[in-house]
Amino acid sequence: MSHKATIPIGPYHPLQEEPEFYKLVVDGEKVVDVDVRIGYNHRGIEKLSESKNFDQSIFLVERICGICSSSHPIACVQAIEEIAGIEVPERALYIRTITQELERLHSHLLWVGLAGHFLGYNTVFMWGWKYREPICDIMETVTGNRQSYGMMKVGGVRRDIDKEHIPYILERLDELLPKVDMVKGAVLDDPVLHARLKGIGVLTREAAIDYSALGPTARASGYDIDVRRDHPYAAYDRLKWNVITQNEGDVFAKAVVRILEIYESVSIIRQCLDRLPGGSIDANPKDIPPGEGVGVAEAPRGEVFHYVKSDGSNSPVRHKVRAPTYMNFPTFRETVIGQTVSDATIILAAIDPCYCCTERMIAVDDHDRTVLTPQDLIRLSQEKTLKMKDRIHKVC
């Protein structure tokens, strides 16, 4: 007997009453097919960019995604700088690196919080977001805003870091590390989470290569790629840090990669602040000649790719943006088919989908089948954790 039900899933901020994001075809408890339809967040940024000048398109690109708010501008300005062969001053490169790593810190903590919420660990959710606040404060000190930084410009950065702020930044980072140790202990040493997350949603290395997966999603499957090391930009080739990889490819491995990357980010920021050279922060470019350029950056979710074509005028002829989630999302076909429906939310959350980057998900809802709302799916996931907790604590 196979009774197939179609289940749509939505993310943590459901868009509408009939949540339509993924269409999962479920046979009993197991997922047998998955289909996605995206487009709810499509704002036509690539076309808009053609009517703005190069300076304005950086602000446009910053609002592609709130969380990767420095990765998209960095990749965009690098593409434009490549067309014109502009050399960016050293100090600006270090400031770009600091902004990137601060963004990675706040994004990974955000993810830890959300993953905690989906699993029913609301304390982890509150901790993750509470300890994110000092990082937003540092961001405000350095760039002037908590989220959309407005830091990057063609040829350098817009704002400098004052010497008086550096002790403040270092203090906040020192305070952050013991808290991250606490969150790490709560997440990585918990036997219930081990049981809940290990072996779930496995993405094999071959599948990661075939789908061109990126970022922590790829690194957790043993596919060792990191734009900061492979295509060095900003000041990354002058610093020492480790690329974190795991081999299992399951949700637990993805969590481990992200949490360990937090420590690496703190180390990179400290090195940058230590070695921040003097000098100007802006190369003051005048013209962009005709040509094409490619810019890449490592966002918290993976590689961001920008391609800009210029015809010598002040606006791009073509501006192609590719966010990392665009390549990571299709891996859902590999990781979710065969898994249970109560694990679907956490498997989806494990690739850290940036909906706005990828332009949102909808699924066509078949009205004659059973429908579960995203609240139902999150509730299923949280209930499964509770059941596992009971089982494990009875044994121990």
Binding site: G39, E46, K47, E82, I209, D210, D230, P232, F305, K309
Partner: protein
């Protein structure tokens, strides 16, 4: 693998099917080929040379619709872009590359709906980004499409 070496390997393998090579720097090169050769070239670059498929981008130019397939070789830090030109703007066709790599699944749907390019052999060219009620035959990223300038408060 340095960029010169990679480009030379492609040239040696495909001979005069490589129409033009432009080396922008030690890390970027653009290789022009005929659109009929995209599947063998992509198979060679993706499978034999182990490049990672980054993305494909389309541009509407005076000569036709140009599609660039961008590949990255991470151990060497180089990006090679393979350019094809589809001269017939009324009916642009090219073979699908989803047989070579699954990562081209979404981008072909996107280029199809935004530029109107047909991918021969791809049965799944449903709209990806645009709404279902978007008028057929209107391709937003073509240069002759001008978004209506409306100040809705005036109407």
């Amino acid at each position: 693998m340095k960029i010169d070496e990679a480009v030379k390997k492609i040239k040696d393998r495909f001979g005069n099917k490589v129409l033009k090579v432009y080396k922008h720097s030690e890390k970027r090169a653009y290789v022009d080929i005929d659109h009929d050769d995209i599947v063998p070239v992509m198979t060679y670059v993706f499978k034999d040379l182990s490049f990672r498929f980054n993305i494909a981008s389309g541009v509407d130019t005076f000569e036709g619709i140009e599609i660039l397939y961008h590949f990255a070789h991470d151990p060497s830090g180089i990006v090679i872009s393979i350019r094809v030109l589809l001269k017939d703007k009324n009916d642009p066709h090219i073979d699908t590359v989803t047989t070579v790599t699954k990562s081209a699944w979404w981008i072909e749907r996107e280029i199809h709906e935004l530029f109107g390019v047909e991918f021969n052999g791809n049965k799944d060219l449903r709209p990806l980004l645009l709404s279902d009620d978007w008028p057929k035959g209107v391709y937003p990223l073509r240069k002759d499409f001008v978004p209506p300038k409306r100040d809705s408060r005036k109407t």
